[in-house]
Symmetry: C3
Subunit: 469 residues, 3 copies
Amino acid sequence: MAFPLHLDPDRLFPVDPATRDIARELYKSVADLPIISPHGHVDPQMVLDNQYFSDPAELFLTYDHYVFRLLNAAGVDLHDLGVGKAAPVDPRQAWRIFCRHWPLFDGTASGYWLTHEFVTLFGITEEPCEDNADALFDLINSRIHQDDFLPQRLLERFDIEVLATTDDPLDSLQAHHALAQVDGIHTRIIPTWRPDAYSNARKPQFVQAAAAMAASAGGEADDFAAFMRGLRASRERFIAAGAVSTDHGVSQPLAVELTDEEAGALYRRAVADGLQGADADAFEGAMLMRFAQMAVEDGLVMTVHPGVYRNHCSQAFADFGADTGHDIPVSTEYTRKMQPLLDKFGQEKDFHLVLFTIDETVYSRELAPLAGFYRSVYVGAPWWFIDEPDAIGRWRAAVTGTLGFSRTSGFIDDTRAYLSIPARHDMARRADAAFLARYVREGRLSEPAAMRAIHRLTDTQPRHVFKLG
Amino acid sequence: MAFPLHLDPDRLFPVDPATRDIARELYKSVADLPIISPHGHVDPQMVLDNQYFSDPAELFLTYDHYVFRLLNAAGVDLHDLGVGKAAPVDPRQAWRIFCRHWPLFDGTASGYWLTHEFVTLFGITEEPCEDNADALFDLINSRIHQDDFLPQRLLERFDIEVLATTDDPLDSLQAHHALAQVDGIHTRIIPTWRPDAYSNARKPQFVQAAAAMAASAGGEADDFAAFMRGLRASRERFIAAGAVSTDHGVSQPLAVELTDEEAGALYRRAVADGLQGADADAFEGAMLMRFAQMAVEDGLVMTVHPGVYRNHCSQAFADFGADTGHDIPVSTEYTRKMQPLLDKFGQEKDFHLVLFTIDETVYSRELAPLAGFYRSVYVGAPWWFIDEPDAIGRWRAAVTGTLGFSRTSGFIDDTRAYLSIPARHDMARRADAAFLARYVREGRLSEPAAMRAIHRLTDTQPRHVFKLG
Amino acid sequence: MAFPLHLDPDRLFPVDPATRDIARELYKSVADLPIISPHGHVDPQMVLDNQYFSDPAELFLTYDHYVFRLLNAAGVDLHDLGVGKAAPVDPRQAWRIFCRHWPLFDGTASGYWLTHEFVTLFGITEEPCEDNADALFDLINSRIHQDDFLPQRLLERFDIEVLATTDDPLDSLQAHHALAQVDGIHTRIIPTWRPDAYSNARKPQFVQAAAAMAASAGGEADDFAAFMRGLRASRERFIAAGAVSTDHGVSQPLAVELTDEEAGALYRRAVADGLQGADADAFEGAMLMRFAQMAVEDGLVMTVHPGVYRNHCSQAFADFGADTGHDIPVSTEYTRKMQPLLDKFGQEKDFHLVLFTIDETVYSRELAPLAGFYRSVYVGAPWWFIDEPDAIGRWRAAVTGTLGFSRTSGFIDDTRAYLSIPARHDMARRADAAFLARYVREGRLSEPAAMRAIHRLTDTQPRHVFKLG
């Protein structure tokens, strides 16, 4: 017999009854606010195409590395799930594998989000298991082929006011432009400028990317000035398409002060032979400084997502490609490495710099102290592996004593899993309500002040930090 | 309409009712004990002068970098608050800025302390806001010009038994000597020997400081033996004035074993040209070893406050000077770096070495294991950015399993904010009561043992660790 | 008057009544399951000899570095307790010292375990103190000289199904073979292969150990091939004696890819002169790679316990020897350092690699992400200084969002303190019940799923991870 699947209306609230009552009231006051998603990985072409989702396996498994990485750990062959570059598979077979392994997701963030989606979107009342796998497949499959499950319809149903995608600076943004012409889309779908391919010269693809960027401004590959002009021009193009921010997935949050001559010399070596080690670090750090300078000038919000060792498992990378579950965090340092950038731009009033981390040790030690002084700095909400209720609670507890509620970024869902967007934002609102309710009960915040705080955290803060007007 | 400002008599206690009852009882038993403040930054001259505080802005804003740093982050110009070297401002205007920004302090340690002060000292019942700013200014201003708000009267009202200041080794200690002659002061006001200026040869001021120290013992600037004699003599002078401890704000807790010849050679280079990099580290580490040796000999308690990148923002340093809110922590290592010192002196019975940190990662990993073995080592209470209720709870939870209640330092307020001293000590007592109450309810401590523990933590432990008799 | 000593039947359960009820039910369902102890330091010869324990001091103080290190910190001379190489002492005198210092253990893990043992095994109802020291000594002493306190009888009474010891690869395993012949022992007592002495070439003992290993395979000391053959053969011998795992107490979890020629060259230098610094790291890292290769081939589970600075206090080492309370953790890094090993073997289906840590910072940052992807990797339960209720709770909260309940190791007691084994396993079950109950009350896990999880964590997971069939 399958176990029940149930969505507790009081989920994530504190266990103490009086505190729970307060949390419930705080949550209620923001539960129905529209979703603001200023950073994520939804494919704008998918929204533009507005096709039915193919099948439950593709929808829930194939693109969600949170999900399939744990299946891999349990011994499932990712080829059997159709992950990454793998050949197509029978989605029903893949779905059966998933259902059989459902208990793997007990207690996980993925399990929490999937439960939310299964219950709210499909009315499922039983845990997936071997016995009900086919029935669930059929149920979901039939629902997602109804019109109210078309991507554009879901935007409205999910009440997504803003949806930012993540895009290459040389992307034509044609999907965004086309989306702007589609009738009936009330969501503001905006691109995000992510130039990692143009600043990380360790990667073999750098040479080609740099050449294309220089060419976009009429220069030869080794023309650093053209390369820089191309980058600036592409930002203007993004701004014209509605972009409000840039994103930087650097290995470390390192800023390096180099003259144009020094940076240009590194650049020319990079387009000739690539760079490694300290040279690659210096070039990436010099580019981060220049991106900050551009942000000061053109007003785009700068977000930094550092500290991940990408493609840790070379066999999985060869078999399935990037973003297939084996990016692993490393310890990260901001105080010293970001000092040159903060010293130069940190006090600029209209510069917004959101520092994310997957290294929880820096919350109270570095990020809160930095964001509690510098005008430009905001502490990014927990991200990736630590984007789950307990970790969100640890984060708030780590930074609030220093920062209060005015220097954090607002929640970002950072997801490719389209259906999980409401679950994730709902989780963040509940987690904040739980945190604030404890402060009220502990006499550290009046109820009106807690109400003010939850509105700020849910609504006004993300609008302010991401300059969403 | 302004929000209410209220001081919950059960603040900081656990939310569970039965646990809260225990916490309340534990707290009650220590709530009225006198304050022992073995480390802080009150200016003894201010106490000696015993003048009325100038105005609410100076009292609450101008010198409290916890407060004005968050105002800076919100875009307030620190010149408008009269911070640091800035020219004088109209205090009423500064106060209005602060009141308008009060919600910034929601949930912060500063907000908690200010609320305590506003309610208990001034009977304020509304949150500061734009509308009541002038009325609050007038209320506070009139109160602080009454005699019972004179600094010496507050010592008594706050029931401060011991108040340690922080002083330069070449300070004349004239204020301390004069205070010792003032009738009616029942507080033991004692200096603390802080020799950072004489061990950090990276700073331009080192040359002058070292020369003055050598001269104090009749030597030329480059006479290392005289420099050392001067340091020892100044300790004797501090001891005669009641000092019980020395404080060391080193960049890292690094101890280096150098012979007198080696240390002397570095010293001579330092007074000639300053030192940088590894040489500066070696000299500072060699001095830390010598300070420990002195402590073993003369009995002064040695406290170490490492791991801060000072003056992170050069513009703010230029505009407002040091200690203006942009000192930022860095990760800190003790196990390897302190080994030479602990290996040599760690087991000395009458040597007391209190290791503080702003890097929470070392609590369970390094500090608790060290203090749970070495006779000399005590884990310092949370300090600076992590001196707030949640962080204090994390600290106790991180070290107690290894250490129990016998190897922590007792609370230190470390503050320049005179009026906040009672609020801070009260917070520490409540946080400890909350922690112990949970242990009682979880069956890990009997109620009598919890009562024993809270008395130890509040009273006997700081007296023991700081040799306060 | 002595304080009461009481064992709360609800100890470690959450304080909220409704959550506590759930925890109690979860705990009940596993409370009586047999103990599986796949990693510890019980001496098999002690079990084989099956003699009465000598006296209370030897039983509780002399070998338990958790206990005597805190007494040392309090100023007790370890010579007076009979620790390490120290001369024998009057056990009653040692016991009196311990009783007098009992409040040191308030709130500590040791205090918790000792309380459990005193109450459940001896029916003690008062805290130890100066007044009752002799009476407690006599009570315990008389009980431990009754037959039901003989080590083999306790195995049954404690319901220990599996007990793994820790052994040198050249150990004859004679005690294990003899134990296998003893009638009436129902516990599976198995050796664990711990080759640190053969891979850490920094230690002076390495030369002799390596020579003996090479000789065991018929080679001269400098014959690397014979050394490797000897290691492989000793694993076979351990497997034949029931071993299921190997343990690696490396300084850092560093894996280095070296050819046999390169490793052999380092080995020959090591047996000639020892190795230091980067060479010693490289050799140790190359051996870790080879041990992983062997594990892939012969199926032994590989456990790694890194990150400890051994013998921090040279005087204590000289006086009392190793393992006498002054091993101190250091920060530890896995993502980069283990990458070569994981890249090569991490996806092997029958390779089990359990990564332990005493550095809590790596839970959410490195270990959970690694174990949530690689088939071979499991996150070890908290160990040593962090093997206590609050730390266990932090661990679960740090890894569960990423891992759920399928990628942790199951509890290990890692103890030399024979009588503490039940107390430690009981603690782990309670801590897990407390954690799961909170998830149930927070709507993150159904009660049936929580029941499934606690059975997995207590029983099936350690059997699976340690291949206990």
